[in-house]
Symmetry: C2
DNA sequence: GTCTATACTATGATAGAC
DNA sequence: GTCTATCATAGTATAGAC
């Protein structure tokens, strides 16, 4: 058996952008193609002309829709963080009051977000640091809020005695990290559906925090 | 209280390169500064002139030491993967024959590797995909071997009945992922030593695989 | 090995016609 | 909104003196 050793930073080829994004026409195509190119080649190695060619327009046309290359990245990073945060927030609102339910809902939303919109997640996570300070603000705030949601739920479970872990911050870092990484390797057809994946990771998370009641 | 929202992709500022790398003098300085710049700004956004200036030489001098910008990245990626693989291999050799001991040793080495050499890990993991095919080969093979080590140990624990998890591949992905992510956020002075960090992650890993004997 | 100088190409962005 | 044409700069890499 031969295994390909070609290294990509993302397994998925799906250029999914959330339905909540109303951008359409050329601007939409630019966004999608920039996302695809940023994910595969990186922001710094992707030129305005690359994006234009992939979008089927001349490079000058890009500037009728976005002020600069950095602005395109900024919009993608904001879309990614907004959608991720929206999903976590919705999940916790529907989860009931038990810490186990809340953590399960958060992890499910976190993992599904990274599995269903891998490309957007890769760009939002891996290229965000290249944005100039003035373009990064809102996304960074959303990111911090999402992290806090996870920490708070774990802390509450520990306080109530239903979780058993000495350091909620470390548990949150581990759970967050394993979910973020999903965007790099997951794609449909590997043998798991998105549901099976998120169910498995939910069990992992509940085990990490030492939950007394872990589903199987 | 005010929290800075500035986003960096790496918390550590330590330009550590493994002792096993014998490169010295100007070539060493080039390697270190390229690593620092690739980690903070990305390969595509770092120019030959940036690396030269940071290394205290003219840009033409770089070519007396490396054939191209891609060759500098290739060397860093190979160093990173070689050191990581070396540590995992050493860990498992010293671990005894029990799956719990072996998994603990692997996770400890994996996490310490990403905590002690964060910058190298970020470059090796995040920029590897930018290498042309002919420069990526050995590193990709080492990566696959490291992954297999983790999977094999978990599978063996399941087969022996000391681990309880339905899918060793998913468990390995989760454990590997949470460790890789450490390189992004960990730095000395946050409140955990590298030892405390790796101990905590070892417990997480043993919990993830459903080990019957988890240390506390 | 390191420098100065430079070739050649690619880059982000703008001007102005349609 | 989209095009052609273009500017100004920055990019990788090389030549040749010391």
């Amino acid at each position: 058996m031969t295994t390909s050793l070609r290294v990509s930073r993302i397994a998925s080829t799906d250029v999914a952008i959330p339905d909540t994004v109303s951008t359409s026409g050329t601007a939409r195509r630019i966004l999608e193609q920039a996302m695809r190119l940023f994910a595969s080649s990186g922001y710094g190695s992707t030129s305005i002309r690359d994006i234009a060619e992939a979008s089927g327009v001349q490079s000058a046309t890009l500037y009728a829709h976005y002020q600069s290359k950095a602005d395109i990245l900024a919009e993608l990073v904001l879309i990614g963080h907004t959608e991720h945060h929206r999903r976590l927030r919705a999940a916790i609102l529907e989860a009931g009051s038990e810490p186990e339910q809340q953590l399960a809902a958060l992890v499910r939303a976190h993992v599904l977000s990274h599995a269903e919109m891998s490309m957007l997640a890769i760009v939002a996570n891996s290229e965000m640091h290249l944005l100039p300070d003035d373009l990064v603000g809102s996304a960074a705030a959303l990111r911090q809020e999402s992290t806090n949601m996870m920490i708070d739920v774990i802390q509450r479970g520990v306080d109530r005695g239903v979780f058993d872990t000495p350091d909620p911050l470390l548990a949150a870092a581990a759970i967050g990290g394993m979910g973020i990484r999903v965007a790099s390797w997951f794609r449909p057809g590997l043998g798991w559906t998105e549901e099976e994946l998120s169910d498995a990771y939910t069990v992992f998370a509940l085990r990490i925090v030492g939950s007394k009641t872990v589903p199987e």
